[in-house]
């Protein structure tokens, strides 16, 4: 039996996993997708907020400021992309300036460092491309931009290296209370074509990895298409994001509901780099911090997000209306931005709870802890949330004995593209795979793709978010088959079983097999190579 099972491998679950890995504990992190950070985290705006915008007196407000202060050390330890570029909340009227003054006072009371009011002149000098009708701004130097997926990957890798067991493609179906205490979690794992092979070893275990003891996990062969496993744990931390209310309801701890709020983001061509150098916010409304201009860590410009509630927890489309809303809004802040500069668009879901604040702490079911409703500023707060929740679980009886071997560092990936000539030369000499180009737009080499697999990538998207292969101008036209070949070799699966992002997201069909199938089968659905993985599996509850 595990001491703790964390449900949900988003940035919050990963931060908790790393925090727990400081102690002598057996911890398992269960993630429904093929890799960590593939839900809300991957589509996050990537902002580390300064903290002056959140209502004082809330848990959000407290953990946001605390979290922000932790990022310099985290960046040194984990090596993800992060830069404190500062943020400007800009005002276009005297009333808005007055509300920024109030925001400044609130922020200072919460301990937000370095806040300054800027008049129109200063604003124009510092950000000359902003609209001329703006009358001033509140400057917060401690705000920053981050690659949120890199942060989640590094947190998970660090946790695994320190003994946490990561189980991807484990979709929790039900949770039962065990006689004698603790929980039995019933999770579905996919199998068959189109499914990514799952189980231990998803991320290579570090030196301190704890092997799963007998009886900890039992594979229950179920229907032909899916398998279920039981995972037993004394404590559960529910970090299931937009599904947190469903998971809570499995143990009768349905203290809240989650309504997903969709946000659309538009990534602009690199040519626009430098149009703004800081995060640009409008004056916020109660529903949202508004639609912003984000100078991303990678040097592109991103605009968004929108904020629209929806019931669907899986389909996250971008829309024509969303695009119009985003560009109409940001053009009021920066008139030279144009929808035609868009190179990619995506949308994500915020996990908005009905309480309006973070829900962190014990539920009415002893041993079951909520970390729910983690919408903005959840990414900023995540490391502070992890410290906070571990402390609460400790108070509830989890023995927190630090182990000396905790290694807070993970080696940052070697990036060929950003190195000077001499370093490139040395890299190629040390490993000839640095001499083989995989992605020509972002100059990603074969060595880096292998490195990404070593660090846990198992899908095309996993490689893309770790190496940038496929993120450039040709959007994978050149590198897709190359990355698929490497994944196929490294994962030991046929080429056609490599997926975009896990079960159901199949990419190709082998031709010979298809000819056979085309002759013997008539219906379109029966021939679907991913049918086994996408069908609702008849898993029996424990």
């Amino acid at each position: 039996m595990y001491d703790v099972a964390i449900i949900g491998g988003g940035v919050v679950g990963c931060a908790i996993a790393r925090e727990l890995s400081r102690y002598h504990l057996r911890t398992v992190l269960l993630e429904r997708f093929a890799e960590v950070g593939f839900g809300t985290t991957k589509t996050n705006s990537g902002i580390i907020h300064a903290g002056q915008q959140t209502t004082p007196g809330t848990l959000k407000g407290l953990l946001e400021v605390r979290g922000n202060a932790m990022f310099d050390q985290l960046q040194r330890e984990l090596g993800f992309g992060f830069r404190r570029c500062g943020e400007l909340v800009v005002a276009s009227t005297a009333e808005e300036m007055a509300s920024l003054e109030r925001m400044k006072a609130d922020g200072e009371a919460k301990g937000v460092p370095g806040l300054e009011m800027w008049g129109a002149q200063r604003l124009r000098r510092e950000e000359p491309n902003l609209s001329l009708h703006l009358v001033g701004a509140l400057f917060a130097p401690s705000a920053g931009v981050i690659n949120p997926y890199e942060f989640a990957f590094a947190l998970a890798e660090c946790a695994v290296q320190n003994g946490v067991e990561l189980r991807v493609e484990h979709e929790v179906q039900s949770i039962a209370l065990r006689d004698g205490g603790g929980f039995r979690i019933h999770a579905k794992i996919p199998s068959g074509p189109g499914a990514v092979p799952s189980g231990p070893g998803a991320v290579p275990s570090g030196p301190g990895a704890v092997p799963s003891g007998p009886g900890a996990v039992q594979a229950v062969p179920d229907a032909a298409s899916a398998t279920c496993v039981d995972v037993e744990a004394r404590f559960i931390i529910n970090a299931a994001g937009v599904h947190a209310d469903k998971v809570a309801a499995m143990v009768g701890a349905d203290d809240f509901t989650i309504r997903p709020r969709r946000g659309e983001e538009y990534l602009l061509d690199r040519r626009l780099e430098g149009i703004v150098t800081r995060l640009i916010f409008p004056v916020p409304t109660p529903a949202s911090k508004g639609i912003l201009i984000i100078p991303t860590f990678d040097g592109t410009l991103m605009v968004g997000p929108t904020a629209h509630d929806q019931d669907d927890r899986f389909n996250v489309p971008t829309t024509t209306e969303g695009s119009e809303e985003v560009f109409a809004t940001v053009r009021r802040l920066c008139p030279s931005l144009d929808a035609r500069a868009t190179i990619a668009e995506f949308a994500g879901l915020r996990a908005v709870s009905d309480t309006g604040d973070f829900i962190i702490g014990p539920s009415r079911v002893p041993g079951f802890f909520h970390v729910a409703g983690i919408q903005s500023p959840g990414l900023t707060a995540s490391p502070a949330i992890a410290v906070h929740v571990v402390e609460l679980v400790g108070r509830a009886g989890l023995p927190l004995v630090e182990h000396d071997g905790f290694n807070p560092h993970v080696a940052p990936p070697a990036r060929f593209a950003t190195q000077p000539h001499e370093v490139r030369q040395a890299l190629v000499e040390a490993d000839p795979r640095f001499g083989r180009l995989v992605c020509r737009c972002e100059l990603v080499t074969e060595a880096e793709v292998h490195q990404a697999v070593d660090h846990g990538a198992r899908t095309l998207d996993g490689v893309k978010f770790r190496t940038r292969a496929g993120m450039g101008r040709c959007q994978g036209g050149f590198c897709t088959t190359r990355v698929m070949q490497i994944l196929s070799r490294r994962l030991g699966v046929p080429f056609h079983e490599v997926t975009k992002r896990g079960a159901g997201s199949w990419l190709v069909i082998p031709m010979a097999e298809d000819r056979e199938a085309a002759m013997t089968e008539a219906g379109a659905t029966t021939g679907d190579p991913a049918a086994g993985a996408t069908e609702e599996a008849p898993c029996s509850d424990a």
């Binding site: 990534l267 159901g504 190709v508 679907d528």
Partner: protein
């Protein structure tokens, strides 16, 4: 020799596709002996390697070849004539040293990060496909959306089908070819949807790839939404008005598991841009003089990196010329600067080269902005030619003889495509 890369050459060619191979041969023709072709793929041939259909070489060889056959003829010649080809290699930069030599930085697993010295460089990097981001289709982001060229590579080189039920957006030639290819392999093609009121592919491809197989071509229609969570499940398509705005009221859904994009090609000029070479905003390729020299001395360009061609035969012709001029430059033969600017006029989207001289015949390539039938091609007041029709998808070529230019004393020559009186200009 295949796989050999020395430290010093007369001419280095960037890219071993049809343009690069012909440029290398052209350089040899001019009298130099040391030529290197740098190719990022494991073998030369470029995009032709995956174009297994016939229809290549009708102009150049006066016979019908498949893509690999066409490429093979050049690869064989290159090998026979002792051109060096460095496969799996990629040019990361270019510098000029104090003695005027060009230093080409080549990344390869065998040679590491090598510097190759030469006198002339020919850019022949080809082009890439426009992607979903460029046309901004709203909806989800599932697996199953491929550019037509990537699908062609998966099918013809790797042996995998992209799916079983496909929708093709855009009627570029690769999309049309792929409609037929997928149909032959048992994938149902639901239709080709084209935003414009005309096809962007060659007429012969519309007939041979769509009409012959009963695949519908929906003109003035586009994809307005992508559906599906993990794998694409359907697209919404809608007719568009004259301004290209979709009419949501007349939209319908097409179930599919695959969406192929054949929405245009972009010359691949990241290297050229990094070198500060002046580009033409219309073609997306370098500005070149009548020797196909770019704004950077000793650097030449040809093929799809210069402008997107529709027939490889013209790529070959252009690249042979570029190679010859690059070879001459390596031998330090200098020609006088061009004195005449060639500029696009009425209904001409672009024309190449950008400048002309009066000392030799010139091949001029151009594209029309819109369809015109019949049409008069007018070159300043020097030449008028009647054409049966012009369409944007089919490149127009023309040879201008030096005798014409001898009597031309202006510095600017304009090319127009004009309607014939009473003709059917739209």
């Amino acid at each position: 020799m295949f796989g050999r890369m020395n430290r010093r050459y007369d001419v280095v060619v960037v890219g071993g596709g049809p343009a690069g191979l012909a440029a290398a041969l052209g350089a040899l023709d001019s009298g130099v002996s040391r030529v290197l072709v740098v190719e990022r793929e494991p073998e030369p041939g470029g995009i032709l390697r995956q174009c297994i259909h016939a229809g290549f070489g009708l102009h150049h060889f006066r016979e019908e070849l498949t893509g690999p056959e066409y490429a093979e003829r050049f690869v064989t010649q290159a090998m026979d004539r002792d051109i060096d080809v460095a496969p799996h290699s990629y040019v990361t930069g270019l510098a000029v040293d104090s003695s005027g030599h060009r230093l080409v930085r080549v990344l390869s697993s065998r040679g590491g990060l090598a510097t190759v010295e030469c006198r002339s460089v020919v850019l022949a990097m080809g082009c890439r496909e426009r992607t979903r981001g460029a046309v901004r289709i709203p909806g989800t982001r599932p697996a199953g959306i491929f550019t037509a060229g990537l699908a062609q590579k998966l099918l013809n080189l790797d042996g995998y089908l992209p799916g079983r039920r496909a929708v093709i957006l855009g009627s570029g030639d690769i999309g049309l070819i792929m409609a037929r290819r997928l149909t032959l392999e048992g994938c149902k093609v639901e239709g080709v949807f084209e935003l414009m009121p005309y096809s962007n592919g060659l007429t012969r491809n519309v007939v041979q790839c769509l009409d012959d197989y009963g695949i519908p071509l929906h003109l003035s229609t586009t994809v307005t939404r992508i559906h599906g969570r993990d794998r694409i499940e359907a697209v919404t398509v809608a007719p568009v008005d004259e301004a290209g705005r979709p009419d949501a009221a007349r939209a319908w859904d097409v179930p599919c598991d695959t969406l192929l994009l054949s929405i245009g090609l972009i010359p691949e000029n990241e290297l050229s841009e990094s070198l500060g070479i002046a580009l033409d905003v219309v073609t997306g390729g370098p500005k070149v003089d009548s020797t196909l020299a770019t704004s950077l001395p000793g650097v030449f360009a040809c093929g799809n990196v210069l402008h997107v061609h529709d027939l490889v035969d013209f790529v070959t012709e252009e690249a042979l010329r570029a190679g010859r001029f690059a070879g001459e430059h390596a031998r330090q033969i200098r020609r006088p600067r061009d004195a005449i600017a060639l500029v696009p006029g009425a209904n001409v989207r672009y024309c190449l080269p950008h400048t002309l001289s009066a000392d030799r015949p010139h091949t001029v390539y151009m594209r029309a902005k819109t369809r015109m039938s019949p049409c008069i091609l007018r070159v300043g007041n020097l030449l008028e030619r009647k054409l049966r029709f012009v369409v944007p998808a089919e490149m127009i070529h023309l040879t201008i003889q030096p005798e014409l230019l001898e009597r031309f004393y202006e510095d600017r020559l304009q090319i127009d495509l004009l309607p014939v009186d009473g003709g059917g200009a739209p």
